[in-house]
Amino acid sequence: MLLRGRVWKFGANVDTDAIIPARYLNTSEPQALARHCMEDLDPGFAQKVRPGDIIVAGANFGCGSSREHAPVAIKAAGIACVIASSFARIFFRNAINIGLPILICPEAAQAIAQGDEVEVDLVSGSIRDLTSGVSFQAQRYPEFMLRIIEAGGLVEKVRKDLSARGAIG
């Protein structure tokens, strides 16, 4: 699957309070969360972002809370994919589980600049910065995680497994 979008660049340790401040967690409705995405780091981000845009960030993206509202807010804001040097582990699981594409690629995270036009192939993990003309290769997912991604998320995978065992109709 090929994505193409404009880049929003962030630094290291973007925490879940920055992605979606806790004061808005009295709802889990995706569009309501999206309106406040990245608000404390970049006020107005949610208004500026266009569907299909891409976030590129440094190490430990999504550190802090377990709130699944964080990847939900990013996805609902229209972000097509997050590329980072590394991800905090709970955010990583949450993104995979809810179907927000994420890629680990320290080289791309460093080289790609704010506003660049980037093309991402989610299947091969190849990343092309169309503005600079430089290409990168993201880390491959382990086989186990690919099965969750291919199923379309964790709930879908579990439904498939349970159906196969006759546990649900």
């Binding site: 889990s28 430990n60 802090g64 709970i90 589980n97 709930v155």
Partner: protein
């Protein structure tokens, strides 16, 4: 092959003799946790899975502790959803206002988490239970929905990292200072994906309350879990509470660690983590010029009896500075009641502090002490990210209860020595 404590617990929960770091396993959980912020989303995903009932109604804890007593209609609706689900499913361990405590203080206190357990919770500070020698880790709502439905989770067996403390602690220094010292040393991703294990002669002398504080903040170094091997002190805590069997496990000699850090307790002063990362650590003494507006003493990190006793010792016969709001939040009803019985609450109220029913409220800028633009707090909580406790221009300085109480009196970041 020698195994770490984390590997042993995970092996025991997937019916294997051995597991090794780097393997993916599917494991049976002993307890599944969610709160009033994360449960509504988990319930929604649970419905999508399509099973009629939870895997075991005695092995799920639903704790309405974050925005309670409800701060607004939206948060009241979230609690209503959790309450209805709990009643529909016959969830045994559902905690509502009047009985609720902050989840990570409450569940161990109630004997719901035991040594050797595998616990998953839709809250990042679930790692707190590692203080008991359990493998406990935070996950998102979808993972928790699957665990509620199936009693199982998938896990990548983590590498382990060892943190050894030897020597005598300085006066007033507690578990909070030790964990801040580690995070200051290795950084907020210094133990990313790893199981941190705390050990050494100093650790053996630490109270359970201090151990809970340390395990609680393992996530602040990016860790998946923070563990202590159970010892006599653990047994004393667990024996009167346990209502089911448990396993006292420890790492094998020769077990593999990806990093080993050794610290001397004598070298560690009272510490403060400055804005806006828990790794931004400095000696409290070096920050004495910084005026403050609010102090919070509480949370899943430092709302236990030991913390309240330290704070009371310093606030006894003194007054909170006229420019400071001091908010004290006992973490559970049992802690609250004991604080009343010991006269700690008298001391807080006479000093001019507000004492609240248990809630996570101010720690995450929810309610009960939200900061205005430019305001500065000293807080015994666990995170000082931008906007964590209120406006994005407000600041949070993380500290233990001794620095928090001394700062409340002097109206600036202070150490107990400045009072005594």
């Amino acid at each position: 092959m020698p195994m770490t404590l984390a590997e042993k617990i995970l092996a025991a929960h997937c019916g294997r003799q051995e597991v090794a770091a780097g393997e993916f396993v599917e494991a049976d959980v002993d307890l599944v946790l969610a709160n009033d912020i994360t449960a509504p989303l988990a319930i929604k995903e649970f419905r999508r899975i399509g099973v009629p009932a939870v895997f075991n109604r005695e092995r799920i804890a639903l704790v309405c502790d974050h925005f309670t007593p409800n701060k607004d209609i939206a948060s009241a609706i979230q609690c209503q959803e959790v309450r209805r689900f709990a009643r529909e499913q016959g969830i045994v361990h559902f905690y509502d206002v009047g009985r609720v405590g902050i989840e990570h203080a409450l569940l161990p206190e109630q004997g719901l988490v035991l040594p050797g357990d595998l616990v998953v919770g839709a809250d990042s500070h679930t790692c707190t239970y590692g203080a008991l020698g359990a493998f406990a880790t935070g996950m998102g709502s979808t993972d928790i929905a699957v665990a509620m439905a199936t009693g199982k989770v998938w896990l990548l067996v983590p590498e382990s990292a060892l943190f050894r403390f030897e020597g005598q602690l300085r006066r007033w220094v507690t578990g909070k200072d030790l964990i801040l010292h580690i995070i200051g040393d290795i950084g907020v991703d210094g133990a990313l994906y790893q199981a941190m294990e705390f050990t050494g002669g100093t650790v053996a002398q630490l109270s359970m309350d201090s151990r809970f504080t340390m395990a609680n903040m393992a996530i602040e170094a990016g860790a998946k879990a923070g563990l202590f091997a159970p010892d006599e002190r653990t047994r004393e805590y667990v024996v009167p509470r346990a209502r089911r069997p448990y396993r006292l496990l420890e790492s094998d000699p020769g077990a593999r660690y990806v990093q080993v850090k050794e610290y001397r307790a004598e070298d560690i002063p009272l510490l403060v983590a400055r804005p806006h990362l828990p790794s931004n650590v400095a000696p409290a003494q070096s920050l004495s010029e910084i005026p403050i507006d609010q102090v919070v003493i509480g949370s899943c990190t430092n709302g236990r009896l030991e913390d309240l006793r330290v704070a009371a010792q310093l606030l006894r016969g003194r007054k909170v500075h006229p420019y400071v709001r001091c908010i004290v939040i006992p973490a559970t009803q049992a802690i609250y009641l004991q604080a009343v019985r010991e006269g700690l609450v008298d001391i807080f109220v006479e000093a001019g502090a507000a004492v609240s029913t248990p809630t996570c409220g101010p720690c995450l800028g929810g309610h009960m002490g939200v900061l205005a633009p430019g305001e500065r707090a000293v807080s015994t909580t666990n995170r000082n990210f931008v906007g964590r406790m209120g406006d994005r221009t407000s600041e949070v300085y993380l500290a233990g209860p001794a620095v928090a109480a001394a700062s409340a009196v002097l109206g600036r970041i202070a150490t107990p020595e400045e009072l005594c």
